[in-house]
Subunit: 284 residues, 4 copies
């Protein structure tokens, strides 16, 4: 470790994940030291079941491919290792009719606060086109009408092909994705669900929340896997409510939580801080 | 309304609940005015489905029976009316092995902060007897061993017969109550559940929360009715957690939330601020 | 009270405020009843010092001037009474360089969620002009350069003259206003301060918060009066922080809180729910 | 790193703090590795000003004195190093009249949840003696009447001499301590202040909060140094309030926050997780 304000272009992130072994931290810090890299920030976690996670921010001039090889040669088998340069992720947003999460991300993007590059917005309605066009981002209206679910998803996948995004963000995209679609973006789709999961999975969570008479509502940002609303949770937040709020009032209030939670989760994901293991996230 | 520091013994609480009609507030405030009662605090709520709720604190010398009759004579049919003197409720606590909610209530009781009179503590274990005995409150050990569920509940009901409590508080009582038992204390049993209901109903909610990988855990105080963990919710609160917490850590952290939420809910209930309607609470 | 979904154009809000007297609720509900108005929602509060506040939403065809006169004729002296039609307030936003609060309000306005009509945005920089122009709202660049504070404020006041706004919203307007300016909009200027007031008044609150080592940061929406950062507080919220956050990180994190708190406060103000008394707000 | 459930008696905590140097983590992990110690948990932090903090939990049979010497021989000058065995701290509580924080700590202690050994309770009133005696802990009534501040503190110090506590906990001890007293327990006195510091320093913070009309109240646990209410903050928490709460209501509500925040802070301190630097805490 050394000076605190290095040139950003030489900063790298090492991500490691696998069964725990004695001396793993020592091994990595030694190799980085020997290769003249300065550790800026180092975080590890070992789960009760013995899974090891490590995220190390370091800086220095380095041939990352060679450094990865050197480390892999010394690491025990079964340890996954990845060294990422720090750079913005390419993403595409999927939306339906609601504007609040989309607008939040567009504004952050416009003021360079998103840690990602929004390549395009895809929607099964054209309602949000005027908003997106204000920000000069391509908008693709891919209707689901007169299409089977599979046909619709294929049309979306074709649209995405041009962009090859690293992540898809479902910013209130209100259609269920098939396993076929999800597999194409395994652990690379982030969704915002408008409830405090696992409470109120499925449709109309605010209506469900109203009917149940809860005193707190929430929102959940999570990775999407094959089981709807059951992927690894990245971030959650809540707001207090009382009997005076109708389901519609809850939906209005909940929007603020949804957009902030989604933004928070994306910041974590785009900064390579989120590991997925055993359908849970480890955030370093 | 008038002077702010009246003698407590002349303060009363009017509770009204029924289908909404034009002029209900006017009617009640008129009758109280004509009978020389001063309104200290008045709260109403009309649900979207047209149910009217009103809670009025007032003071003055009054024959409450006569006042109730006068009001009932003028009120439309179907409106429930009750006038309670402000007084501490008699309660019995049911516990199992965990001490934190029990200790919280005992301490509040010992320093006159509970708005209730703890008549006794009943438990299916004798583990907490030493704690209870420090506070000079009767402790009844009613084991469930070698008894059917029905026999055990009958033994508890016999124990309660002496006390005739207005409310039972399940302060981490870890056995499911049968509908027969619950009916005896309809809407008069308050339970603390160690999750953010309706997430993680049933057993081992912290284990369930750990497995699901949630980022927030909670606790829920609710009335008990025939459906386990599905009665009207009175109060909820949450705490943030992360991947580093084991299920046991969550349980430890959750205890603070549980005891504070239970205390908060009981304060509302014992001050006649909680209406039950349509399996939800209205809190005025 | 009666049917729940009235035509919006006949809904009115009665606001009353003055020394408490016996029978005030009764008096108002009687007059409304006699004038064939239906009370939809009624909230009162009496402060410990004996100040009475009442907000009544009611509906019906009514000559509001005549109704106000009828009520005033019966009310004791010293009670302030106002009946507002429910309508959007005209507002002008003042900003400096930061976009987040401005963007939040523009987006809400664009999607008809603000309960107000943004007439114009005024700024002492032209940095935010491109953002404002996306939404088709007049932007006035009124530089403070080469002007005394008084000259600058006069220039702003001249700009405002065209609009005659009911409220000014300081959406991160970073200049102190003189008493002369403030008096022109007495109790009609809402500011968002980027700290949990009264902690960290004045400049650079996040730097102050970092230096003090607090574990929670906050934001405060308040009315502006002659004493900087000391006007009546409308809404506050907080976020947890730890030692790892620099002052700049806190500023970034704080922005989310600032914009949500400001929006929440404005919703209350624009819905006539905020009374000011004794430098505090009463929110009904 | 190795098996997850080691015998507790061989677990140690290494604490390091000083100017940052390249390779510090590598150095420590190497020495521990070479001495056959298993790292269980490792946390570091480097402040923007270049101060390095490290806390390492490790286990194994070890001569801690010799291990400390070995490390010190290799470490650059100016780095503070300490290796603590994991054991309960001896503490004495100071209280005045309020019971809630004291009771919270007594209950946790009675059920082995405090990570500390309460040796005694000292008070300038005898009001809380009955509560303390329930738990079989020595209570020392040291009145301040007819004594100068210095005489009173000397009397307390004499009482403490028998116990030689590692930490003093001011569990609502309502007298200001002199610098002379504080110096005897430098960075070893933890206080709970009933406000969200630095708001409302000094006396009657709830009254101050009421007068200012804040919408959130809080509590702050902090180390005590020579400047009253200005020592390093360990933990804070808040609760929402509104205009309906009097200063007394806020005090009642605030008690729950105070006791939970104090308990949380003590857990961190007693587990050697709190560094003090530059009047701030770093919590690893």
């Amino acid at each position: 470790m050394a000076d605190r304000q290095p040139p950003k272009n030489h900063r790298h992130i090492l991500l490691m994940n696998g069964p725990d072994h004695k001396g793993l931290i020592y091994l990595v810090t030694r190799v980085l030291f020997e290769n003249n890299q300065n550790i800026i920030k180092n975080d590890e976690y070992v789960s009760p079941s013995g899974q090891f996670f490590m995220r190390t921010e370091f800086e220095g001039e380095a041939d990352l491919t060679k450094l990865t090889e050197t480390l892999n040669a010394e690491l025990p088998e079964g340890i996954g290792l990845r060294i990422n340069p720090t750079k913005k992720k390419d993403i595409v947003l999927l939306v339906t009719k609601e504007h609040h999460c989309l607008a939040e991300l567009l504004i952050r993007y416009a003021f360079d606060e998103l840690d990602a590059n929004i390549q395009a917005v895809v929607s099964n309605y054209n309602i949000l086109q005027p908003l997106v066009s204000k920000f000069g981002i391509p908008f693709h209206f891919v209707t689901h009408e007169h299409k089977s679910r599979e046909e619709h998803e294929e049309a979306i996948l074709r649209t995405l092909e041009v962009y090859q995004p690293e992540y898809l963000v479902l910013a209130k995209y209100m259609r269920v994705l098939t396993p076929t679609f999800v597999q194409q973006y395994n652990n690379r789709i982030v969704n915002i669900h408008h409830s405090f999961l696992p409470a109120f999975m499925g449709a109309n969570p605010y209506r469900q929340a109203y009917n149940r008479g809860v005193k707190i509502i929430g929102a959940t940002a999570h990775f999407v896997n094959n089981d709807l609303d059951e992927g690894p949770i990245i971030a959650q937040d809540v707001k207090e409510v009382d009997h005076r709020l109708t389901a519609a009032d809850m939906a209005t209030l909940g929007r603020d939580t949804e957009k902030i939670v989604l933004s928070k989760a994306l910041k974590l994901v785009f900064n390579d801080r989120v590991f997925i293991h055993d359908n849970r996230t480890v955030i370093l």
